[in-house]
Structure formats: C-alpha cells, structure tokens
C-alpha cells in the first residue's frame, strides 16, 4: 500500500508530502505519524506541503487534526511551504486553521519548531531523556 515516508530528525518527525493526497493516504499518514511520535518520543512534527498544488476541505481538516492530536501527545506541529493558491483555497473554504503553526519554508519551520519546543521546556515540561 502507498505510504508517505516519515523521517526522524533528532527530536522531530519530518513529513514531506509530494504526491496528490487522497483521503485514504491522509488517514494512513495520520495513523503512522501518531505511532511514530509515541514510539520515538518526538517533540515536534514538521509537515512540508510545498509541492502540494491542491488541497480540499478534508485534507485541510486533517492537517488541523494532526496538529491537535500531536499536541495531545506533547509534540508541536509546523506546516511549511503552503502555496499561495492553496492558502487562498483554504481561506475561501473557511478553514483558517487557527491552531496550526506555519512557516514559509523548511528552514524557517525548523527554527519555529525549535523555538516552540524550547518555550514549552521552559514551562517545566521536561521529559526524561531516553
């Protein structure tokens, strides 16, 4: 079955979506990602959608729910590289994804993720090192 690869980078999980997302694939990704976060004790998730040209309301909502689920598991989520046309579509669909962090590219997304994680560490959310 087709799957979207999830790469581990230190404390973070890196997902690059490079194919057209259909609903099944999205649900599989959601499943896999949550499993990985728990297994690897990840602190952050970075989802790169810079090659994604079309996003429907389902995928939009899925991105939002990934962020909420990851938050429940103690990880921050950043979505990076959204195309202008995709952003306009999501706004027109009424999905402004209030709870999601965004960044222009992977580099800036990584920086934002690190800042967010260190901020939550300062809040006393320290985790024993594995």
């Amino acid at each position: 079955m087709e799957r979207i690869p999830i790469l581990k980078m230190g404390d973070f999980q890196l997902v690059t979506i490079q194919v057209d997302m259909h609903d099944r694939l999205a649900l599989t990704l959601q499943d896999d990602l949550m499993t990985q976060i728990v297994k690897q004790h990840s602190r952050g998730v970075l989802i790169d959608i810079s090659t994604l040209e079309m996003v429907d309301s389902f995928i939009g909502r899925m991105l939002g729910s990934i962020a909420s689920m990851a938050h429940l598991l103690g990880a921050e989520t950043v979505v990076v590289g959204m195309q202008p046309s995709v952003a306009i579509t999501l706004v027109e669909l009424g999905l402004s994804m209030k709870g999601i962090r965004t960044a222009l590219d992977v580099e800036k997304g990584m920086a934002a993720l690190q800042a967010a994680v260190s901020a939550s560490r300062e809040d006393g959310d320290e985790r024993p090192q594995v």
Binding site: M82, P84, A87, I88, M97, T102, L104, D105
Partner: protein
C-alpha cells in the same frame, strides 16, 4: 435610367465636386482641425469615394455587408477607429459620413431635376445607404472605445497593486482606491506571490488610501491576513483612519486577531521588533535636533 445607377452615375461624373463640397461641409460643422488632420480627412474621403464608386456600380446598394462593400467598410472602420483613439466625439465621427448627404442630394437633384419619382427613389436609396454606413461607423467607433476602456481597466488593475519591500523580510502593500472583489483577488494573489518570492516573514497592508471600508472590504482583508498566516507570514494592517476605526467597530467586524496600527511607521516598527531588530541613532550624527 434605373434609379440604382443614378447614384453610381453622379459618383462617377461629379466625383471631384462632391468631394470638394463634402470636405467644406465637414470643416463647417466639425471642430477646428489641424492641417495634418485635414489632410488625413481628405485622404480618407477620397479613398471612401473611390470605394463607394466601385460598390455603387455593383448594383447592391441595399446590402452593405456584401463583398462589394468590403473596401468601403474597411476605410470607414479605419477612420472611426483612429478617431476613437484620437478622442473625437461620436457626433464628430458621425459627421464624416452624414455630411456626404447634402452634396449627393444636390447632385442627384441636378441630374434628375425633372423626374420627380425617380429623384425621390434615388434620394431614398441614398439616404438608406448613408444611414447604414453611418451606423456601421458608430458601431466601430463604440467598439474601439470599449476596447480602450477594457485595456485601461486592466492597466489600472496592474498599476494599483504594487508590493514594496521595506526591509529584509518585511513587505508593504499600500492600497489606494476602492476595493472590490476583483481587485482584492489580484491584491491577495500578488501579495502571497511576493511573500513566497522574497521569503518575507512580515507583510504590512496599508489602507491609508482606501476611502471606504465596508463589511465586504473588511472580509477581504481578513481573508488576505488568514491566507498569509497559513503560508507562514505575519500580516499587519496599518493606516486605519479615525473614521475607519469607528466604521469597523460600528459594523461589528472582529479584527481582534489581527495586529492593526494607525500608521505604516508604527506597523513597520512592530515588524522590526518582532524580527529582533532595533533602530538606534548613530553616535557621530551631527544633524537633526542637536544644538
């Protein structure tokens, strides 16, 4: 002699007289023309006359869409299009064709003077023909004008949405004029494209030049801000005048989630601060307010 050819005959035999009188009438009725314009008019008049002559000989006076009239239509089209571009009024353009009536009628009267029914027929045919040609001229004139207006609208749309780079990672979009859906679409697209191109973290939308902000405009602004945020850029709104602030609150528009400032300078300061930059006065500066 068949009446349809009465016109053809006088067009052939009295050509120079008709053109002379025609041009005189145009000078009398129209605005003052420069010598270049006069020459141009004379040239088109002669060409049209020649084309009329050929077309009238073809015996299909009633149908100016037929092949015989191709040349005449081309000339008229050229004349009215060039006049539309040069800013002539519609009546000045129509006069070009309609002032041909009098000389033609005079000549017809001279050649058919004693034959009243034939004269009436010839005059009727000529009137009908010239009216059709006149309508055709006006149609072309109007079409050219509409093309000009369309092009100007397009140019205005492109002109009115410049995205300016204020600083590394800070963009500004000064909006001027009324915002409608079509313009906002262009504005949004331009801004988002510029954000991607310059990899900017901040975008400031300045609405100092927007005369009216209604719910629709506010909605558009909020959408643009949300879209920029989705892409990972922070969007600020500046240039909110006192009246606009009152309007926004009276309309019940919720701008609480957007950073808004009164002036572009304030918004720029916020952007600099958020990117961790500080502006300080150089120590060896001697100008300004120092005494």
């Amino acid at each position: 002699m068949p009446t349809s050819n009465a016109l053809a005959t006088i067009l052939t035999t009295k050509e120079s007289e008709i053109i002379k009188r025609w041009l005189e009438l145009q000078v009398e009725s129209g605005k003052k023309l420069s010598s270049a314009e006069q020459q141009q008019t004379e040239k088109s008049a002669r060409e049209l006359m020649a084309a009329l002559k050929t077309a009238a000989a073809g015996n299909r006076l009633g149908d100016i869409n037929s092949a015989e009239w191709d040349r005449a239509r081309d000339i008229l089209g050229e004349v009215s299009a060039s006049r539309a571009r040069a800013g002539y009024t519609p009546s000045e353009t129509a006069t070009f064709v309609f002032s041909l009536k009098q000389p033609l009628f005079t000549m017809l009267k001279e050649s058919l003077g004693n034959d009243a029914p034939a004269l009436a027929d010839a005059v009727w045919q000529t009137t009908e023909l010239l009216d059709k040609l006149g309508l055709f001229t006006m149609e072309t004139f109007q079409k050219t004008r509409e093309e000009i207006i369309g092009r100007q609208q397009q140019e205005l749309l492109e002109l009115s949405t410049p995205v300016v780079r204020l600083w590394e990672n800070v963009l500004a979009l000064p909006l001027i004029g009324t915002l409608d859906s079509a313009r906002t679409q262009v504005v949004m697209q331009n801004l988002l494209d510029a954000i991607v191109q310059t990899r900017s973290d901040f975008a400031i939308i300045d609405i100092t030049g927007v005369p009216v902000v209604d719910t629709l405009v506010a909605q558009h602004l909020l959408k643009t801000v949300a879209a920029a945020r989705l892409m990972g850029a922070d969007c600020l709104i500046s240039g909110i005048r006192p009246q606009i602030a009152q309007t926004i609150i009276h309309l019940g528009v919720d701008l609480a989630n957007v950073t808004t400032k009164a002036t572009l300078a304030d918004a720029f300061a916020v952007a600099l601060r958020r990117s961790g930059l500080v502006v300080t006065r150089a120590e060896n500066h001697h100008g300004g307010t120092a005494k």
